[in-house]
């Protein structure tokens, strides 16, 4: 009896195998994009999560006053026109009068104001508000220090939105991509709103149809989108795949058709094919030094000891070696900021030079690293390869490091303890301006929750000078002056080397040949609004 059952089961399995083999290639009339979006963020709404993974989903289901167009540049979206006051402080947007929510209800300027208020409301403890601080008193409101009336973000009528800034901002329209409306009547008093497609009302090219925890976030074309007639894709499914090797298998298998997290193997396999795409990203990787533990000369020696080209090769990445802290993709009068700065600086600020590293160490009284302690290097457990290569390169000049790895979610807690010497970090900016990278080392970032300065971070005299330089760029309206000041600030920070730049990020991704128009912008976000599937 048992044997019979066993045979029957085996047969059943074989049959189902065969059946699957037969129906492998889907001949859907629907145009479906299955996009692998890495590990699932804990929460998937624009307020509680500031992960890039979340933002990618949000940019496809929400559209702001402006949005990124097919060329990767911000242009007007739900605002069909705007005016700026002469002092550059007051922006008045006119909202499209035909604007609708994804459930078909009317969308007007008040929804923008409500959305902004909801986002900044202290008890909602939004994860990300850096880009909203540009609005006058927004931060004060977030911290509970003023009333909503004092905030510079108000709808003056159904179609007019008046935004007052704290300081003039040359790239404000870029930021307006992230100024999205919320359907607050579905959200007030309903903490579960983002679990349920019924209450997850959006205004972007796609709208939510199904949310399956740990599996995927499923969306379909939003018929009420203002530009719906130009959206070709019927469904976009954001699939959570934890493992890059699995993502590669899924891509090869056709289970996903856009792959954004490339393993080394994926990179090498597809590098020379047309499915492989690379996009500049305004991000920079760096190693943060605990300046209390590591002296300036040692930091400089470390910076010279890093063979960034080799590192990139070893890790199989498509990155560029970092020559400073402001990456490619940031522009200075239409030219790459980096190139302009390098030219003015008379060469890259950061280079690889083992001899120089050894020389600096010797001059500082540590010939071949003698007398130096073993430094503790912390990184996420996904970054161990890089850590080992760095360890080896530092060892070449006599600097020994010990690697401690942590799960990603614990890493930042450990990072915050400052109980380490070198920390692996990186940052991708949000808009096309060097301040999006350079603001990271301003003093206010180095403050503990109780208002005291973090003792271990960069807080010496040079740091104070840096802070002053950066602050002076805020009210500055002359772009050339701003850029020059920031170039000076970058030189200053590199001279003291509290952070050792490693790479300038490049995004690489795979797109099946039949899919066109997948846009990946300079902040690394993917847009499917302009995509199409052309079956050959």
């Amino acid at each position: 009896m048992k044997k019979v059952l066993a045979i029957a089961l085996a047969l059943a399995m074989i049959f189902s195998l065969a059946a699957c083999g037969g129906g492998g290639s889907a001949k859907n009339e629907k145009k479906v994009i299955n996009y692998a979006n890495g590990s699932q963020p804990e929460v998937l709404d624009p307020i509680s999560s500031n992960y890039a993974k979340t933002s990618i989903v949000m940019y496809n289901i929400f559209t702001g006053l402006t949005h990124i167009n097919a060329d990767g540049v911000a242009e007007l979206a739900y605002a069909d026109s705007y005016t700026v006051s002469d002092d550059g402080l007051v922006y008045t947007f006119h909202i499209r009068e035909d604007a609708k929510w994804s459930d078909g209800s009317d969308l007007n300027a008040k929804d923008w104001e409500n959305g902004f208020e909801f986002h900044m409301r202290p008890e909602n403890a939004a994860r990300s508000y850096d880009l909203k601080k540009y609005v006058k008193n927004a931060e004060a409101y977030y911290l509970g220090e003023c009333t909503w009336e004092e905030v510079g973000f108000h709808a003056t009528d159904d179609y007019t939105l008046e935004i007052t800034l704290q300081d003039p901002c040359t790239y404000f329209l870029d930021l307006c991509c992230t100024y999205i409306p919320y359907k607050t009547e579905k959200m007030e008093g309903n903490p579960d709103w983002s679990k349920n497609p019924e209450t997850y009302i959006t205004n972007g090219p796609f709208r939510v149809t199904k949310i399956v925890d740990q599996q995927g976030f499923y969306t379909e074309k939003n018929p009420y989108y203002y530009n719906a007639e130009n959206v070709k894709i019927d469904e976009v499914n954001f699939i959570w795949i934890d493992d890059e090797a699995v993502e590669l298998a899924s891509y090869k298998n056709g289970d996903i058709n856009v792959s954004d997290n490339l393993s080394k193997e994926a990179d090498e396999t597809f590098k020379s094919t047309s499915e492989y795409h690379a996009a500049e990203k305004i991000g920079c990787g760096y190693l943060t030094c605990n300046t209390e533990h590591i002296e300036k000369e040692v930091r400089q020696a470390m910076a010279y000891a890093l063979d960034r080209e080799t590192l990139i090769d070893l890790l199989g990445l498509a990155y560029e070696p970092a020559t400073g802290l402001v990456p490619f993709g940031i522009h200075w009068n239409g030219k790459q900021w980096r190139d302009v700065a390098n030219e003015k600086d008379g060469g890259p600020l950061v280079t690889y030079d083992v001899e120089k590293a050894k020389q600096i160490l010797a001059d500082a009284g540590y010939p071949n690293g003698e007398g130096l302690p073993t430094y503790t290097y912390i990184c996420k457990n996904t970054e161990t390869a890089k850590a080992q290569a760095v360890q080896n390169m530092f060892a070449q000049v006599g600097i020994d490091i010990k690697i401690d790895t942590y799960e990603s979610s614990v890493y930042w807690d450990v990072y915050d303890t400052e109980d380490w010497d070198i920390g692996d970090d990186g940052w991708t900016g949000d808009y096309d301006d060097p301040s999006t990278n350079l603001f990271l080392w301003e003093e206010y970032r180095e403050v503990n929750a109780d208002g005291t300065l973090k003792d271990a971070r960069w807080a010496n005299d040079i740091a104070k000078q840096y802070d002053a330089l950066m602050k002076s760029t805020y009210p500055e309206t002359d772009n050339e002056v701003r850029m020059e000041t920031m170039r000076e600030a970058e030189q200053l920070i590199i001279s003291d080397m509290p952070v050792i730049p490693t790479f300038f990020y490049t995004d690489t991704f795979l797109v099946k040949p039949e899919i066109t128009g997948v846009v990946k912008c300079y902040i690394g976000h993917v847009f499917f609004e302009y995509a199409d599937i052309v079956q050959k």
């Binding site: 393993s263 080394k264 193997e265 396999t269 070893l314 890790l315 080896n392 690697i403 401690d404």
Partner: protein, 324 residues
């Protein structure tokens, strides 16, 4: 037919039978005492363990297993010493090399010699496997033995404690221990040692329960042996066969647990690598450099094979009931 003749060795025709009438008279002289036992090969009386060893020696698979584990142990001890490379030495001129005369198992993405890394990994994986198994066996057998032997309330309380601890997922201990002791061999070892003894304890208890009523235990009790003597000298040795089988399952379990920890990224710290870490790293480039996964995975699998053969052999050898 060949088997039959083998089963029945031909008895040489006797020189004389009862029908013979020509038997020399001297043959009817009494047999001198010294010749009486000459015919008889008095096999030395063998102890339980000697007997087991004799049987184990005859088990080819088990011997292959033992030889393999000895080789692996030697590799673990001497491989890293005699290798011209070290496990952490990077050489960017020879990254991702396939196996060759210089690098028997090829090199990894940093040009490190895979053979050296695997033999170094053997130290870690074998230590974890074997230490964990032994510690678990000792704790489990004693704990289960005590519970089973004393029975009643003692048993009930002890087994409930096992239930409670067994119900706490092992990952939880491991994480906790690692938080306090760091990502190193010691904490993994302690964590794994603490998590696997429940099974052995339960099993030993069952065994002891079933044999404690048997004559030899009673006899020992009558002979005035203390409870612990009875437990250690009579009951546990008699229950050891199945326990050893369980422990064979434990060695791989421990090595696997470590590999699993590597897989979820909380294994041993880089650049030190266990087989699990190596296999997991190799997995990421399986399509490009299959040997980077193949060799560590084979090291794990072959060791598991060997351990299982040894376990099977031991089980047969230690099973006193098979003696005939």
């Amino acid at each position: 037919m060949a088997k039959k003749t083998e089963m029945f060795p031909t008895v040489p025709e006797a020189m004389y039978t009862m029908e013979s009438r020509d038997i020399p008279a001297e043959l009817f002289e009494p047999l001198p005492e010294e010749e009486k036992f000459s015919e008889q090969i008095n096999r030395p009386s063998v102890s339980y363990w000697q007997n087991a060893w004799m049987k184990l020696k005859k088990d080819k698979l088990a011997i292959i297993g033992v030889v393999f584990i000895i080789l692996m142990t030697l590799l673990a001890i001497f491989g890293p010493i005699f290798s011209p490379y070290t496990y952490e030495q990077q050489d960017y001129d020879v990254v991702n090399q396939p196996p060759s005369a210089e690098h028997w198992f090829g090199t990894d993405q940093f040009g490190r010699d895979q053979f050296t890394r695997i033999s170094y990994g053997a130290r870690i994986s074998l230590t974890i496997g074997i230490v964990a198994a032994i510690v678990n066996m000792i704790i489990g057998a004693l704990y289960g033995g005590i519970a089973g032997y004393f029975g009643k309330k003692t048993d009930m309380i002890m087994m409930r404690i096992v239930d409670i601890f067994a119900a706490i997922p092992s990952l939880l201990y491991i994480i906790l221990i690692m938080i306090f002791l760091g990502n190193n061999l010691k904490s993994i070892l302690i964590a794994i040692c603490l998590t696997y003894w429940f099974g052995t304890a339960r099993q030993t208890r069952g065994q002891i329960l079933s044999i404690k009523g048997q004559d030899f235990a009673m006899a020992a009790k009558v002979a005035g042996e203390t409870d612990f003597q009875i437990l250690l000298h009579h009951l546990i040795p008699n229950a050891i066969g199945p326990i050893i089988v369980t422990v064979t399952f434990l060695v791989p379990s421990a090595i696997f647990e470590e590999a699993f920890l590597s897989f979820i990224g909380i294994g041993i710290s880089v650049p030190v690598a266990s087989w699990g870490t190596l296999a997991n790293d190799g997995m990421k480039v399986m399509g490009l450099y299959p040997y980077q996964m193949l060799f560590p995975a084979m090291a794990i699998s072959l060791t598991m094979f060997a351990l299982n053969f040894i376990g099977d052999g031991l089980r047969d050898a230690l099973d006193s009931r098979l003696k005939k």
